[in-house]
Symmetry: C2
Subunit: 465 residues, 2 copies
């Protein structure tokens, strides 16, 4: 057992006593994840104000045999930023500065605690564009988005967070600061250590600062909601739009009919339904371009051809920013539609696009065999092969979540998919990792963990059991 | 010292004696790199025919205390695939199969020894497109391109090899096979171990097979050569085209005036010069699109606006495949133009685009102070911040290469750049790594190397001294 008073004093000296709180006074987001599955008081909540203070805290924790979990916006769904018993929650909230927006180098330097939307807006204010975009943009942080290798709505065109990080500063498990805040797009000098810090959920290092690649701000924005009759047509529509729109297709968000009905029925009080119910699939398509003269024409011609080829059965194209927001709301304003599905379990799996119909059929069948009242909503970033699912099996869902998890993840395994496309493993999925990773892969991961964090200081019990 | 006869026998049993050659009978590409800087007979040349045979060879080598260097197309310029004394050269040439081209999943599975151009053509034959493209496409292999994290002509749009690898199979230093031949674009389950194998030049694992992401084959191809008066205009032109052409700008290759003159003068016997000499900069621009009705118009309108804004002083647009090839030849058919620069040293550095003028001026000045007859040709993938240089200082260049290296790399360090943008570190640049990487970074790299290859079996003396 660590000497609580001594640890308290040492942390207070490191960051200032006003920035060290005992865990039982911590506010809710340090004690409980967003889905309220994991509840754990941290030993302390520490709020360092600089990278050096983060390093000192980690060193002190290591000396006292106490673990450290970095906390960002707490928008994760897998319990990745909830401490284990007796661990310190290290909040990056005081390190939220935008250090630089460099439009010549097309890069911005930000501290880990900066909110994604704040970073997006800072880039836009300079005429640039940070492509990463998530539903939780208003509370997710840059550090958390790096730790999770966040994906979201525009991966199809600009990739995941991994593809936007050019510079990184991290604190290792022994308190070493490793910093390379470069704007370079290409750097093959030495091992790509930054890659190891992206997507590893704070288990190999704590991200304190990053440089993100920016893009020129798009000038035109075409958005449409399309109804599609079957999955075969969904696949063909995606490939056809990828060709026709060149590199400008930015989103291809797929909603199964049940999802569309649930969302739009719940939203009818505040807005009308953009397309009738009853189609098998709905696709939200976005094209971002730079040519006001031709872009809209090209987009509508491509859609017209898709309709003539019967790939698309019905379509609505946004004619204003307000209409665009209304189309996106069908996909993103999920709280009202999900109300009737509580309590639910959420899933984030990855697979070949063409395996999705077999997978969804399989999951439904397996669930209904065990839970006759099971209801499932499927939706996701189909252009990236990323499927989300919301599952309600009735009031005893939370008590029987492991059964539901097993059904979904075993079905994922059967199509050779991944149990974590963009939400990570955290603690809720660690026990299922072997369903999508071989023994040799997991042993290699463990070897990397042992080399970088031999004492298990950083976010223990996450990713690897 | 290993028991030579016993090792020979063990390797022969592993792969068949006909595929084990003693090093002094090895053909030139195993003994000498393409720039003829490193000459070293391997102890043996081994040609395994399968991943399991690669694994067995590595295990045998480790047991005998002998190192293994994987050899692909030997197109590298940094001596990365030349063995150290007493090491085994392990050629992947018998493992060159294209296992699958899956146009539904938009992915291809290839063995490491497959030639890049063969892979490109196999994808095209199925209506798909492998975007990686290099001057050495006809001899570089997929395995080597992964080991080097190859870049080339289209990084601006599709990224480097790192961005195309979805699946990977490697043999670790202890002979373990780690395999994850998946086509998934998104997979955040566990640590991204594949990332550690990409760009680490065979020092952490030997790539035996990979899955590469494919794209729809572009339908339209617009190519132009543009003359630009100053570097400020080069920067503005790049940003303007990035906006106007949306995601379709695929190449932005910059040539300094001296480079253009040297290349086109040497090529005049076989083809005419597309633009007059005398401009400060020449830019080769490529846009790949999918809309035959509008793409050419949009491209020409963007160029017309660039000319009206005086960003472009002269321009020629390719009107046929033959004209397109002729424009690319100015940039790629370098042998005739380089003849008058032999002996030369080549460099591949990375930096902020806006630092390039200061850098090139600095390098010229420092070189001329030491070598009054120094001549430098600058060119490169400017859209990625990647600059290449060819330096001739007279006949004693090879003997004094370390002095030239130091001048170029110290100038790179002064602008915060990287000494290896896309060609890697190999053995020729390992001693300069600390000019662009901090002690903490290099120590972290060493820790990773010790964890994955504690005995130093895989390609020793490369990347890290």
């Amino acid at each position: 057992m660590p000497d609580w008073a001594q640890l308290d004093r040492a942390l207070g000296e490191a960051v200032g006593p006003q920035y060290v709180g005992s865990g039982d006074c911590a506010d809710a987001r340090f004690r409980c994840d967003v889905l309220q599955k994991y509840v754990q008081d941290p030993l302390f909540v520490v709020r360092p104000g600089s990278t050096l203070e983060v390093a000192t805290c980690v060193r002190i924790a290591a000396e006292h045999g106490v673990s450290v979990t970095a906390v960002g916006g707490q928008t994760g769904t897998v319990g990745g930023a909830i401490t284990r018993p007796g661990g310190i929650a290290l909040s990056l909230e005081r390190m939220a500065a935008i250090t630089a927006v460099d439009t010549r180098a097309m890069a911005m330097t930000v501290q880990a605690g900066c909110i994604l939307q704040v970073a997006q807006e800072a880039a836009e204010a300079q005429g640039a564009f940070l492509p990463l975009d998530l539903g939780s943009r208003g509370s997710a942080t840059i550090g958390g988005s790096i730790a999770a290798n966040a994906g979201g709505n525009r991966v199809l065109r600009w990739g995941m967070m991994r593809d936007m990080v050019t510079g990184l500063e991290v604190v290792l498990a022994d308190g070493t600061v490793v910093s390379s805040l470069t704007t370079m797009l290409k750097d093959n000098a030495g091992f790509p250590w930054k890659q190891l810090m992206i997507g590893t959920e704070g288990t190999l290092g704590i991200v304190t600062q990053a440089v993100l690649r920016l893009r020129p701000r798009p000038v035109t924005d075409q958005t449409a909601l399309l109804a599609v009759a079957n999955f075969h047509d969904v696949e063909h529509l995606l490939r056809m739009l990828e060709v026709r729109l060149g590199g400008r297709l930015s989103s291809f968000e797929l909603m199964w009919g049940e999802f569309y009905s649930a969302m739009t029925q719940a939203q009818l009080a505040s807005r009308s339904r953009p397309l009738e119910e009853g189609h098998a699939f709905y696709v939200l398509v976005e094209m971002l371009g730079g040519d006001p003269t031709h872009d809209a024409v090209q987009f509508e011609e491509a859609l017209t051809d898709a309709i003539e080829d019967a790939l698309v059965r019905d379509a609505v194209v946004a004619k204003s920013g307000k209409e665009r927001e209304a189309l996106w709301a069908v996909r993103e304003d999920m709280s009202p539609g999900l109300a009737g599905y509580r309590p639910f379990s959420v899933y984030d799996v990855s697979m070949r696009l063409s395996d999705m119909p077999a997978f969804t059929t399989d999951v439904r069948k397996q669930l209904e065999a065990v839970f006759p009242d099971a209801r499932v909503l499927f939706y996701g970033h189909a252009g990236d092969g990323n499927l989300h699912a919301v599952v309600n099996v009735g009031p005893d869902g939370p008590a029987r979540e492991q059964e539901i998890d097993t059904i979904v993840y075993e079905a994922t395994s059967r199509v050779g998919g991944s149990i974590a496309a963009e939400h990570g493993i955290g603690q809720s999925r660690a026990m299922y990792l072997s369903l999508c990773k071989s023994k040799a892969e997991i042993e290699l991961m463990r070897r990397i963990k042992r080399a970088l964090d031999p004492l298990g200081v950083l976010n223990p019990g996450k990713v690897l059991e």
